[in-house]
């Protein structure tokens, strides 16, 4: 089967994000970038399914030349080929979904796996738009909801199972207070939650091999998509700074303060 996965370039979650003083965005100087962690999980799940069922994983990213780094990362993990939608400038969720729709129509995958959201603007919309516009079924927030280290985990049925006839996919989703298992006809769109899998480390020979894997370049105009945003970010602000804690001299004072000030006991 053919699986399309996404690899958005986002700020490294471990770097310190600072909002520009005028609120128009974040300070980009000195920041490191990575593949969106949810997308990395999507790549991993795609690779696992293909290992079981055969086929290929195609990875797509939208952005300037710098997104090659994320495409190469996915290729190094084992993806077979990459599609680069060359676009710089603002883009909203509908723009992204519109571009992905065209890529899907071109590549004709059996399954599209995306991160449920990207950790930069946390919108959680692209997968849903994409499924809607393609007219495909969707299963969002695929998850396992188990500690990865537990014995149980190792023997557990995977959260994403493709039916024996290659016509359906069964997905375990994380919902409030538990798990829901849904079945969806293929082709379908699945979005990944954090606890679906633990992505592999790329092997070092894999990194070298990625160099010679193909990256196909597309442009929005060539795909016939108007990506003029319908949504604009008008202001960004940092969360209010936390007040420094205090030290109390003894347990009695602590209990007293928890009672009278924090009012938690």
């Amino acid at each position: 089967m053919k699986i399309l996965v996404t690899a958005k370039r986002v700020e490294d979650p471990e770097s310190k994000i600072k909002v520009k003083p005028d609120g128009t965005g974040i300070v980009q100087e000195g920041l490191k970038y990575k593949i969106n962690p949810f997308d990395e999980i999507a790549v991993e799940e795609g690779l696992r399914l293909v290992a079981k069922h055969g086929g290929e994983v195609v990875v797509v990213s939208i952005g300037g030349k710098e997104v090659h780094e994320q495409l190469r990362h996915a290729l190094a993990m084992g993806a077979h080929k990459a599609v680069w939608v060359n676009h710089t400038g603002p883009l909203d969720q509908m723009g992204v979904a519109g571009l992905l729709q065209k890529v899907v129509e071109k590549e004709k995958p059996d399954l599209v796996i995306l991160g449920k959201q990207s950790i930069d603007d946390d919108q959680n919309q692209v997968g849903q738009y994409l499924a809607e516009w393609l007219g495909w079924g969707q299963a969002t927030f695929a998850s396992k909801a188990e500690s990865f280290d537990s014995e149980n985990e190792k023997n557990k049925v995977p959260a994403l199972v493709v039916g024996a006839d290659n016509k359906t996919v069964r997905v375990v989703r994380e919902v409030d207070g538990g798990l829901a298992t849904v079945e969806c006809q293929l082709p379908a769109v699945v979005t990944t939650d954090l606890r679906l899998n633990q992505p592999r480390y790329a092997s070092l020979p894999g990194i070298m091999k990625a160099k010679s894997k193909p990256i196909e370049e597309l442009i929005p105009a060539g795909l016939g998509v108007d990506v003029t945003p319908k949504l604009t970010v008008t202001k960004m602000s940092a969360p209010p700074a936390r007040k420094a804690g205090i030290k109390v001299p003894d347990v009695a004072t602590l209990v007293e303060k928890l009672k009278t000030e924090a009012k938690v006991i």
């Binding site: 310190k16 490191k32 990362h73 190094a76 480390y201 790329a202 092997s203 070092l204 990194i207 160099k211």
Partner: protein, 392 residues
């Protein structure tokens, strides 16, 4: 505000290819996520986290700069970058990788028969077979040419007798590359023997009481009438050149890697100095601390440039022993000094394993001594400069 990128003040990252950078970042991520959280405990308890071996093997770390036989076939620069990230974790892990790759796999790869390569290298690359390198003896450290370990021919076997000491990975090794003199010969008769675990008369004993490289196995090997079959002798090398070429390989990696420990100490000290308040100000704001940080960074950048050039020269086949000696001598010494300075910035906290400085500082005392002591590298360089041999 601390900026970790400050350690790359001279944009040395830009001198790397995209693939070299990706290799470095991948190993760095593994170290950050999987190794740093556990190393303090292992160092304290004097244990080695065996579980990381298969995972590093899966990534292709072991014998990474060798071609074929299941090895990754990367260049020496990539190999150096891998080791530097392992060393940023702990010198014990980097020592494991250096010994496995440069001192055990390399001699088999370079001097072994086809049959030996097929028999050992794929398993060693996978981390299923662990190797060690037996050169040093109780009475012969800097002067290995004086070794007493002997091999005598008996039919289609060799009988080995002797003691090797300070052998990294000795007690967990499946195969030991043991260097011994043949019959009554001198240093020119030295040959390499692949002594396998379980051969009668061969045993390894863990050296206790170490305050350095605590998260690494160091052992004494005892060989009493060990019968080693002909097919376990490295056919293609004779004399001290064998072990010394392995060491030369390993030393280049170590010279490059030592900066990893220095970076770990510097970054942690910078973060600590920025948040530790004394006399109402972060200690990073005081001139004396800033001088320490400036000195540390300056030496890190210089060491990185030296290491970078060394690996490029090695990839071009132009690296000489004098170049390797200069880099090992400089980079390990400055890393040790940086670790000590970092330790002082942490104040009392600096003497615990909660912070990395004292651990690296103690480790680097070994690195200063092994793979050619600092003094021995001074003499190699001195000989290259003057043409006069000051060893004896």
């Amino acid at each position: 505000m601390p900026r970790p990128e400050i350690t790359d003040l001279y944009l040395i990252d830009e001198l790397l290819t995209d693939e070299e950078r990706a290799i470095k970042n991948t190993v760095a991520q593994f170290i950050d996520r999987e190794y740093l959280p556990i190393i303090g405990r292992h160092f304290e308890q004097g244990t080695f986290p065996m579980e990381v071996i298969p995972r590093l093997a899966e990534m292709g770390v072991f014998g990474a700069n060798l071609q074929g036989y299941g090895c990754a076939g990367l260049n020496n620069m990539s190999y150096g970058l891998i080791l530097q990230e392992l060393e940023r974790g702990d010198s014990g892990l980097r020592s494991f990788a250096s010994v496995q790759s440069s001192l055990s796999m390399f001699p088999i790869w370079a001097y072994g028969s086809e049959e030996q390569k097929e028999r050992f290298l794929p398993g060693m690359a996978k981390g299923k077979l662990i190797g060690c390198f037996g050169l040093t003896e109780p009475d012969f450290g800097s002067n290995p040419g004086g070794m007493r370990t002997r091999a005598k021919k008996e039919g289609d076997h060799w009988v080995l007798n002797g003691t090797k000491t300070w052998i990294t990975n000795g007690s967990i090794a499946d195969v030991a590359v043991v260097w011994a003199k043949v019959e009554d010969g001198g240093p020119e008769s030295i040959r390499g023997f692949l002594v396998e675990k379980g051969m009668p008369g061969f045993s390894a004993r863990e050296i206790k009481g170490k305050f350095s490289l605590r998260a690494s196995f160091t052992s004494e090997l005892s060989l009493q009438d060990v019968r080693v079959p002909d097919r376990n002798v490295l056919p293609n090398v004779r004399g001290l050149k064998g072990p010394l070429s392995c060491l030369n390989n390993a030393r280049a990696g170590i010279a490059f890697a030592a900066t990893g420990a220095a970076i770990a100490c510097f970054e942690a000290a910078l973060e600590y100095a920025s948040s530790r308040v004394q006399f109402d100000r972060p200690i990073a704001g005081y001139q004396l601390t800033q001088e320490k940080l400036a000195d540390m960074l300056q030496e890190i950048v210089k060491a990185q440039l030296l290491g970078h050039r060394l690996m490029r020269l090695k990839d071009e086949g132009k690296a000489t022993p004098a170049m390797v000696s200069m880099a090992k001598r400089n980079n390990v010494r400055v890393a040790l000094e940086i670790a000590r300075t970092a330790r002082s910035i942490f104040g009392a906290n600096g003497i615990t394993v909660e912070y990395p400085a004292v651990r690296h500082m103690l480790n680097l005392e070994s690195v200063y001594t092994y793979e050619g002591t600092h003094e021995v590298h001074t003499l190699v360089l001195g000989k290259a400069i003057t043409g006069l041999d000051a060893f004896s």
